[in-house]
Point group: C2
Chain length 340, copies 2
DNA sequence: TTTATTTGCTCAATCGTTTAAATAAATTAT
DNA sequence: ATAATTTATTTAAACGATTGAGCAAATAAA
């Protein structure tokens, strides 16, 4: 690879001159137009690209953005990543990626990132317990940070998230319009904005249509996939719902087990909907010796991961370049799939 | 962040001295033991970490490995990535990741990687058409390269792959021992080592048990998921198999559609097995208006992605450090799941 | 003609490290 | 007492870029 120095030598000029030409600063530096052309030609011929290391050391800019997302086997996260990458690549930026599967190593990852001089950070926080610490680190580091998927309502930090409230409102409304009257809600207790707002949307919709919220239909104690079974058991023991809204259908596996064992058919006996596409690993569900009967489509709310990622990257790049103080709060409407 | 210079100033010594101490070279440099202790203490106190940019520029080492894998929504690839990351992190190395979804941008990605001064490359080639070009680039770049998933038998390039032949031999043997006599093979035509060796394993096993290979039972023209339907149709038209070995069950979706529409039950009417876990997106399969009946477990061959990734990272690191010329050719036996 | 200004380019410091070579002081050998 | 050696540390160049300041030479103004 040729260095600035090599090109300068070949043309018998100084390194500085070549640098000015390469960086389009020859006008203010009043380099002779003819020389400029000569240098430009040589630069092109030798396919010169500045050594990023020299450049980085000098400017302190690494053209690198740190990315910390949750479980990448979840396609939503992967889509976010893909969106981020595309946008960054367009702008000659790079992604340094760490998946903080359980939010446990978030802090540690960030510190390594900072050592590596990332210019910005896109993070999807997975554990609300870490929030305080995270925010402190961000404030100290002074690099732009954009949250995705979840955000902190009481802090002035940019974010790009799904319009979760809108999505669950719409889904609930859909169920109501289908004539459903006993709509159960199953979710977790994690204190994450995305999940809280899904519940809010459900409640608001019920209220709007004049239904009151029935505590017997609500189960918000899901911690691991297996709990889905218990959750349904718990609700059905108290009152038989005619529809179920699930915080995330992604891991509904054990819900189907419950349906199967109790002879509950979709959609004849119950309407099922929720966020995220159902994802069944057949080799796994087969473990429960399964007869799965599904007729027709399961409606679900699909989040636009790629758009979220793109937008987040766009914001980070803007903040790096302009250093303006505007705080972006972006909600991206998810898609309603199979709602008919 | 403190620099070497700061520490040196605070102690009234030169930068070099501190550097020698930090890098454990004070013995050969005969730095006074007491001073060494003082400096070490200060280093610890101020939590000094060398600025990677300065270090990188000086040494030319970026502590970064380029990773190019195929479709990351495929959990196998994700597992490889996860394995690589773990190993690299243990050794203070970083991963620069690019997923070359269709192998189209492989070349371009590699060139950007090289500009960024990666010290090594782990790649899972997705298109045999690119092989020649790839190999040329590698030879020119002189950085260590390790292939995963697929390899080039005629080149001397390290690789870590599943023992695909062993896996399909075992699976075929399993079917034979279950009394199956008409075992179909469904696969693609891509010229990739992993896929070729799966077919080899199938053939070898049949031969070993004294069966001859029946062309009517073999369909190797799968290009996209939908082709699975046609493939089965094609085979069943000629001769009704009692078992099917599928190159990868991951996208068997349309196979189930065929079974459903023709009233074929697993495992009563047919035995199904192959590489990779079946992955059904229920929201998608519902599109074909599905009644899926699965009784019991579907046996499948699960590749040890994480182990492959770890091993590949290990090899890369070794090659970077030792510069030895040994070529590693590692086959990792996959796991036989639900074979009973 | 002298002075001021513009033009056109080079010098040299800088970023944070590493490391060969130089140097000074202390010790040992002659 | 002088020279040679060992010990302990510093100096300075280098990696590859950027960039403010500096310096001639050419041109314009006085």
């Amino acid at each position: 690879m040729k260095r600035l120095k090599d090109i300068a030598q070949e043309l018998g000029v100084s390194v500085a001159t070549v640098s000015y030409v390469y960086n389009n600063k020859w006008k203010e530096k009043r380099i002779n137009e003819k020389l400029v052309q000569k240098i430009k030609k040589k630069i092109k011929e030798s396919n010169y690209k500045p050594n990023p290391l020299g450049l980085q050391l000098k400017t302190g800019k690494t053209q690198t953005i740190g990315i910390i997302l949750g479980d990448l086997t979840r396609s939503f996260n992967l889509n976010i990543l893909s969106g981020i990458e595309k946008k960054l690549a367009e702008n000659n930026y790079f992604a340094l990626i760490s998946s903080s599967n359980l939010g446990e190593k978030e802090i540690q990852h960030i510190e390594t990132f900072l050592e590596r001089k990332i210019e910005g950070l896109i993070i999807s926080p997975q554990k609300s317990e870490n929030y305080e610490k995270l925010v402190k680190i961000f404030e100290k580091s002074k690099i732009p940070v954009v949250f995705v998927d979840n955000y902190l309502s009481d802090k002035n930090i940019d974010f790009v998230v799904s319009d979760n409230k809108w999505g669950s409102f719409k889904a609930t409304e859909y169920l109501i319009k289908k004539g459903k009257r006993k709509i159960a809600y199953i979710g977790s207790e994690k204190n994450l904005s995305a999940l809280n707002e899904r519940f809010d949307g459900y409640c608001e919709c019920l209220k709007k249509y004049g239904f009151k919220i029935d505590e017997r239909l609500i189960y918000k104690k899901i911690e691991k996939q297996e709990d889905m079974y218990e959750g349904l058991e718990d609700i059905f023991k108290k009152v038989k719902p005619d529809a179920i809204f699930v915080e995330s259908l992604l891991y509904f596996k054990y819900g189907f087990k419950f349906f199967y064992e109790n002879g509950i058919k979709i959609p004849d006996d119950i309407f099922l909907t929720g966020f995220d596409p159902v994802d069944l690993n057949l080799s796994e569900i087969a473990e429960v010796h399964f007869n799965l009967v599904v007729k027709g489509l399961i409606p679900f709310i699909e989040q636009r991961g790629e758009d979220i990622g793109k937008k987040a990257a766009e914001i980070i790049l803007k903040k790096i370049k302009n250093k303006n103080k505007k705080i972006w709060k972006v909600f991206i409407k998810p898609e309603l799939k199979n709602f008919k």
